[in-house]
Symmetry: C2
Subunit: 248 residues, 2 copies
Amino acid sequence: MDEHEDQLDVMNDGSLLVAGQAVSLRSLVADRLRLAIITGRFRPGQQLRERELCELTGVSRPSLREALRVLEAEGLISTMPHRGPVVAALTPDEVDHLYALRLVLESFAAREFARLRRPHDIATLQATMKRLDDLRESGTPLELLEAGSAYYRTVASGSGNPYLAQSLQALHNRIALIRFISLHERDRNRLTFTALRAMMEAIIAGDEALTERLWTEHLAAIGTRARTIVEAGYRLADASGASTPSAA
Amino acid sequence: MDEHEDQLDVMNDGSLLVAGQAVSLRSLVADRLRLAIITGRFRPGQQLRERELCELTGVSRPSLREALRVLEAEGLISTMPHRGPVVAALTPDEVDHLYALRLVLESFAAREFARLRRPHDIATLQATMKRLDDLRESGTPLELLEAGSAYYRTVASGSGNPYLAQSLQALHNRIALIRFISLHERDRNRLTFTALRAMMEAIIAGDEALTERLWTEHLAAIGTRARTIVEAGYRLADASGASTPSAA
DNA sequence: TATTAGAAGATTGTAGGACAATCTTACGTA
DNA sequence: TACGTAAGATTGTCCTACAATCTTCTAATA
């Protein structure tokens, strides 16, 4: 049987380009800078100088500037007329707005996922959940960040709507640093693991109503936490409140 | 120390820039190219050559290329590795996905608008509706496009969520050409006028459920029309079906 | 001490050229 | 006649260098 529909591995991560040379330099630069912002190497509000970035990345200014335009369009940096690029810093209210938008987009994606129930997406979602379980005890925050991003990315992809997935990817990039900071709290992570598993099961069961309810609860919880982190200046604020699960 | 955080009347509309010089050249170039794409001067699928664009806009290649990156991030053009920028051309399925996303975002914005009912936004919405009424008989398609965009932009702004408004703006830019083509049909425009008025009244009345229902019906109607236009190759296809109002 | 003027630094916009990759076209051979 | 190959041309990409403008720091003076 000539079953060639296998492999090709097109569903690895996200953008797959045919061969090794089909990726432009500015894309690589944008990826590097995006990662630096997401992981907090460049702090929110920090002034970026093109000269330094050129030395750090090893590319020329035109390439760097084109990469900066991409990041600017994604909302990760903002450029003032003659003051250079600045790493975007969110206010608590902006976090609320972002999470409100995320709830609308992501719960819709999850519901569509639960409605379509495409086998391949289900398998991928289970694989990302297994990856999360493997990291549960000994995973670093960066590993957890990437595994969680894979989970949410799979949900977005499972909606079958590429534009929805693209919007969610951009939104997640904007809040990735907050998530990264939050992932340093291991006890809260356990609650998130439980929620993600329940959400996955609701999707696989095709229960759209339950999916929406669980997603709303989950986002309310982590949205509140995100606001707290930003209010503390993008740092873990070891709130005096000991351990109120507060899933609402 | 010196904390003068008094208001500077920054909340007029959206982005307020101090004087006339605070806009970069690449922004102007991006605006010009965006308008050319939206109004169909550059047809979907058309190959764009940087050299020609440099001559048309009168700017150097670096500035032009930075503008192209902005448009690429907005989804208005796509750049293949060594084949230059191409004006994005939507497939019928992509139109369906875009309108599905638009329904999610815009109906949420309208519901938030109806919930908040901020007087300033209500006044602006009424003004845009009046502008539409004034253009009802003698407005050109381009004038109608801009007036309709102002209506939808006001709805998005009325949600109070700037990120939601920004996402909707980008989405509207992608479908503007389809709307522009559709606006050449005067008889269909009347139906749209009626729908827009009803939707405005539902918002002002604060009736979120009615707002959602009307928005769903409206987007279903124009989404079907949009798909038809794309199927006809971005042209009015004078469908044989005479005049089924089809508000469902 | 407060205000203003000047200079230094940085960013932006622009120009030109070199290098690499791809597409087209013409020619030779089977 | 059809096909494969090679050369030319076009296009895209990247780099260096320079002019113009704005910000900001510093210093001098009222």
